[in-house]
């Protein structure tokens, strides 16, 4: 019965991928016991692999998994007879069952789960890993390698965050309208952090990171569909799609790094850019400016080079002006300095950079040194430029970008 076995395995895996987050969210929304829900689900998937080859794949695999997971959860709680909370926990599980809809569909609590994962009472660094694990089912080792920490460290952070959700009583709730914008920013930032981790791997050759960008876009689509009236959700999705559209053009045929201004526009994904433009228009129709919309608008301005043949730097500078009023981020300041240099010349850009030179975070931030090197070079300060190039090269982990910086450094010597 090898064929049936494979079918069952494939069906379980399909159900796992499609409904993992939905089931975790539903099973933990009431009890706030994320780890317990994950354990119960793992048992349910194991049971499915064992039973489906014999009995066939059930008509509604999700409902089957839910009822098995729920029985496991109840058994586990019952075994904890010493716990004074066991009765309360069982009561919550019973309430959840009574709440089931009659058509067998599992209610979608994923958005509530994401708000719990990105709650301000949890360390911001664990928001994205928590969402990746609970909504998408990434294991700790995969998340650890994507975020460049050891599996043990990541696993410990995730365990701590889950126990904090339960113990501190972090709610699975879509925040009140008065708090929604601020709290949504936490969720969107976590999704963007996941995207950024995936984006680092330009060539798509790092299998640990390859899926991260795609999964982040999937989460962006999910949030946009679940919160259709929040401008920043399509704003973020638009930003990610603009970036994704340019992914193939970031390396040339030889695998060398190509900076944005020199990319072959034919290699941009024009359908994706079209979708990003439409999302940005939709976002701006709400009349509420936000960081992700502004960053998407910057990307849109860069992509407009397709039609005009030139980059509208004054427009990009105005967008960065607006962004810098929203956040004091040195990243925004660096990009703004580059935009200023392209409008008013390299000396003007340098004096913008000088305003943030004291920020200690910049010491190890490659883009700052690369921008400084470029502007010093354009001003004819070759010695300062070379020192900054050396610093940038030393900080860069991507071989292709290092080689690009080295070429720029060498080209400067006449």
């Amino acid at each position: 019965m090898a064929g049936d076995d494979e079918d069952a395995r494939a069906a379980a895996e399909t159900a796992a991928r499609r409904s993992y987050g939905r089931l975790v969210a539903y099973l933990s929304a009431r009890t706030r016991d994320v780890a317990g829900a994950e354990d119960a689900l793992a048992d349910a998937f194991a049971a499915a692999l064992e039973s489906w080859p014999r009995s066939g794949v059930p008509a509604n695999p999700e409902a089957w998994l839910l009822s098995v997971a729920r029985r496991r959860a109840i058994d586990t709680v019952r075994r904890r007879i010493t716990s004074v909370n066991a009765t309360d926990h069982l009561k919550l599980l019973a309430e959840e069952r009574a709440d089931d809809s009659s058509d067998g569909a599992v209610p979608d609590e994923r958005l509530r789960l994401m708000f719990a994962c990105a709650h301000p009472a949890l360390d911001a660094g664990v928001h994205a890993p928590m969402i990746l694990q609970t909504v998408l089912g990434f294991d700790a080792a995969a998340i650890a390698s994507a975020f460049l920490v050891s599996p043990a460290t990541m696993s410990q952070r995730l365990v701590r965050a889950k126990s904090r959700i339960k113990q501190a009583g972090i709610p699975f709730r879509i925040p009140e309208p008065s708090e929604l914008a601020a709290r949504l920013d936490g969720v969107l930032s976590a999704i963007y952090a996941a995207y950024a981790e995936g984006w680092v791997d330009a060539a798509g050759s790092d299998s640990r990171r390859r899926n991260l960008a795609g999964e982040a876009i999937w989460l962006g689509r999910l949030v946009t569909s679940l919160l259709p009236d929040e401008a920043e959700a399509p704003g973020l999705l638009s930003l990610m799609l603009f970036a994704e559209a340019r992914r193939p053009a970031r390396r040339d045929a030889d695998g060398d790094y190509v900076p944005l201004g020199e990319q072959d526009m034919e290699r941009w994904d024009h359908a994706l850019i079209g979708e990003a433009e439409a999302l940005l228009r939709r976002a701006s129709s709400f009349g509420e400016t936000g960081r992700f919309q502004l960053e998407a608008a910057v990307q849109s301005a860069h992509c407009a080079r397709r039609y005009t043949g030139r980059t509208d730097w004054p427009a990009i500078r105005r967008l960065y002006d607006a962004l810098s009023t929203l956040s004091a981020s040195p990243v925004v300041a660096i990009n703004r300095a580059v935009a200023v240099s392209n409008c008013d010349g390299p000396a003007a850009g340098l004096s913008e950079l000088a305003r943030i030179a004291g920020d200690p975070r910049l010491a190890s931030y490659q883009p700052y040194w690369a921008a400084l090197a470029d502007l010093e070079g354009r001003c004819g300060n070759f010695e300062a430029a070379r020192a900054a190039f050396d610093r940038a090269i030393g900080l860069e982990t991507d071989q292709a970008v290092r080689a690009f910086l080295a070429r720029r450094r060498a080209a400067m010597i006449h």
Binding site: R30, N85, D88, L92, H119, A168, G169, R173
Partner: protein, 121 residues
């Protein structure tokens, strides 16, 4: 769930405020306590005497050591507390933000042992 709101503040600021002529157990706290009671969230709460009145006790072996002063000698001291009933952390944070002590000091929000009594969302 039950949460304890621990009000940490700089005692010298408190001392200056309470030394003002005509000072009474500040009306903001009275109003806040009333709001907690009205909402059915109040379990208990009180102000603490200055940390200079604190005594630290510990037993090591068969010896009971008694020392004067607070447990930790920090700039901000525990000045008072509330134990409140709240459905979740967000509700507890909202109460903490309304506490007059949050304006000058810092409120620490800690769930008590009675976790998950209510699972309301």
């Amino acid at each position: 769930m039950q949460y304890m709101l621990l009000i940490h503040m700089d005692e010298s600021v408190m001392a200056t405020a309470t030394a003002q002529p005509g000072y009474e157990m500040s009306s903001p706290y009275a109003a806040y306590g009333e709001a907690l009671v009205k909402a059915g969230a109040m379990v208990s709460g009180d102000r603490l005497k200055p940390s200079s009145s604190a005594t630290v006790v510990r037993v090591r072996g068969d010896k009971t050591e008694v020392l004067d002063g607070p447990f930790a000698d920090t700039k901000e001291q525990l000045g008072g507390f509330y134990i409140i009933e709240a459905p979740d952390l967000d509700a507890a944070i909202q109460w903490a933000a309304r506490c007059p002590g949050a304006q000058l000091g810092t409120i620490e929000v800690r769930p008590t042992g009675k976790c998950n009594r209510h699972g309301g969302r």
